[in-house]
């Protein structure tokens, strides 16, 4: 009896394997057949939602865009020749381009992407296929990349402008980055060419700093950002600072180091300053607190001219994707609300947090309720201690033409498609 069951088990695994390898495109990436997955690809979702992995093993899948015909473009963080962008068309994956990077947006008949220094666009044909994969237009060039916070995440408005994150190549603008006892530099010079969102024209080639505008400043690093069409405004998710407990144990205990500062969502208007590096936002005291590198002690307030966040999330969860949902497939409460992909923390101790996609309801560009976990269990382990244990980490978000939600994972390169089928 036992042997028979074991044999049966082996057989079914073998059948599965052969199905998978047949769908293999000769690369290591795998396309899953478009059938419902009763296990929801390992994700935990609200009632009525389903998930399936439409692709696996794409590599470090960062941001993602879906065409009006349902093809999927994924930016892969790799410098391997010809592997920068993956295109999923039905059961087939193709790749093109050679540059690391994160940014990936479709607007009108163009695909906009970024390396860690440049912004490109590719013209699309009437089927939304890239016409000339080897010759994108180089829109912006020469953006600063000193490795830390190097992702040039992108979004566009409806007036032909493109917004580009240029992250601070530093934790808190100390004389010596992340060194215990090193003071913050007065008049932090990093803010001149980084630590903000820059605005460029979406249709002009070879722009650099002089051609763009520093649209908003005092943002340490932004990977998730989106244009909110309900109130015509830019929203960003900041990656908050690290090291309050490690570097300042005289002011912060381990618990406070874990819970501070909040990961903040900001609604930005031109000229706004979110205050980095001089302040951080304390989500428990609901205050802007002077950074200890600049004379703070965990209590002194600061940043009179800095804006307040629209939403404060728990610390260190690393928001890498932001999407305002405009589709009609999901129940009404999701309409115009924000999905946020939290890549998952590393800068906590004794247990990490995040590794999920959150949701916040919105109306007219204002949050109308508390945030909640929407899609969970990406990590695939209980009580995660270190990000290396995570089997998947959510990163990019996109909406399909039918209102499905797409989520990338940059550990293994899984692309999840989340749909609503009712109860």
């Amino acid at each position: 009896m036992k042997t028979r069951i074991a044999l049966l088990g082996c057989l079914s695994v073998m059948t599965l394997l052969s199905v998978q390898s047949r769908a293999n495109n000769g690369d290591s990436s795998v396309i899953r057949p478009m059938v419902a997955d009763p296990a929801n690809a390992g994700l935990k979702l609200p009632t009525g939602f389903k998930a399936q992995a439409i692709a696996e093993n794409l590599g470090a899948a960062r941001h993602i865009a879906v065409t009006p015909l349902g093809d999927v473009y994924v930016k892969i963080q790799t410098s391997k020749p010809g592997k920068a962008i993956a295109v999923i068309h039905g059961n087939e994956v193709k790749t093109f381009g050679t540059y690391r990077g994160t940014g990936m947006v479709i607007k009108g008949n163009y695909l906009y992407t970024s390396s860690d220094e440049e912004v490109y666009r590719y013209a699309l044909n009437d089927k939304f296929e890239v016409i000339n994969p080897d010759q994108p237009e180089k829109l912006v060039t020469g953006l600063i990349n000193r490795h830390q916070h190097e992702a040039k995440a992108l979004t566009l408005d409806n007036e032909g402008n493109i917004y580009v994150n240029i992250g601070a190549y530093s934790n808190s603008c100390q004389v010596q980055d992340r060194a215990k006892g090193s003071k913050g530099i007065e008049g932090c010079p990093i803010r001149d060419s980084a630590a903000g969102i820059w605005q460029f024209r979406a249709d002009k080639q070879n722009q650099t700093y002089g051609d763009g505008t520093r649209y908003a400043s005092g943002l340490r690093n932004v990977v998730g950002l989106d244009w909110n069409t309900a109130d015509n405004q830019l929203f960003v998710m900041q990656h908050g600072r690290d090291g309050l407990f490690d570097m300042f144990p005289e002011y912060y205990n381990l618990q406070q180091g874990n819970e501070l500062p909040a990961e903040c969502m900001y609604a930005l208007k031109k000229g706004d300053d979110a205050g980095w590096p001089y302040i951080y936002y304390d989500g428990e005291q609901h205050k802007k607190i002077l950074a200890p590198e600049y004379g703070g002690d965990g209590k002194k307030k600061g940043g009179e001219n800095a804006i307040d966040p629209a939403i404060a999330f728990p610390a260190h969860m690393a928001p890498n994707g932001l999407l305002f949902y405009t589709g009609n497939q999901f129940p009404a409460k999701y309409k115009n609300g924000a999905f946020v992909a939290f890549h998952g923390s590393w800068n906590r101790q004794k247990g990490q947090k995040g590794y999920f996609v959150a949701f916040v309801p919105f109306k007219d560009g204002k949050p109308t309720g508390k945030w909640e976990i929407f899609a969970d269990d990406f990590a695939g382990v209980e009580n995660i201690q270190s990000p290396g244990q995570a089997k998947h980490r959510p990163c990019g978000l996109a909406q399909g033409p039918d209102g499905s939600l797409y989520v990338t994972d940059d550990v293994k390169g899984t692309v999840y498609k989340i749909t609503y089928g009712g109860k």
Partner: protein, 137 residues
């Protein structure tokens, strides 16, 4: 049948007991002190299991630096590392700050701990060695 299983269990228990006996930590107290230093100054970045943070902070598991020549390894601790050149073919974007405020003995202890933990096996580092390497800077 049962007997075979039992002998097998007994054998493997005996074997693992033997293994535990021979796997005595190198320089016992140095490793114990080094663990404390690690938890205070290295753990957030390199993580509780030494696995690092993918793409950000490198692992301390069998890397060229960890198992390699002591001078280069001690210099990483004293001067930190901001090069962002690939480490064993992977690229890590964060900066490591200098830890020159640590005493010779603390550096020796933490490196001895790292070199005999996380699956690593390499010789202990002594305070005298750290002192000599620091003197060259």
């Amino acid at each position: 049948m049962k007997k075979i299983i039992l002998t097998g269990v007994a054998l493997s228990a005996a074997l693992s007991f033997l293994a535990a006996q021979t796997k005595k930590p190198v320089a016992g107290s140095s490793v114990a002190r080094g663990k404390k230093v690690y938890e205070q100054y290295c753990l957030t970045c390199h993580q509780v299991d030494g696995s690092g943070v993918p793409h950000l902070n490198p692992p301390l598991i069998k890397t060229t630096f960890v198992l390699g020549e002591k001078p280069a390894l001690v210099q990483v601790i004293l001067k930190g590392m901001q090069s962002s050149v690939p480490i064993d073919d992977e690229y890590y974007s964060n900066n490591m700050p200098p830890h020159n405020f640590l005493k010779d003995q603390e550096i020796a202890d933490v490196l001895t701990y790292v070199r005999n933990n996380f699956g690593n096996k390499a010789g202990a580092v002594t305070a005298a060695e750290v002192k000599a390497i620091r003197a060259k800077n």
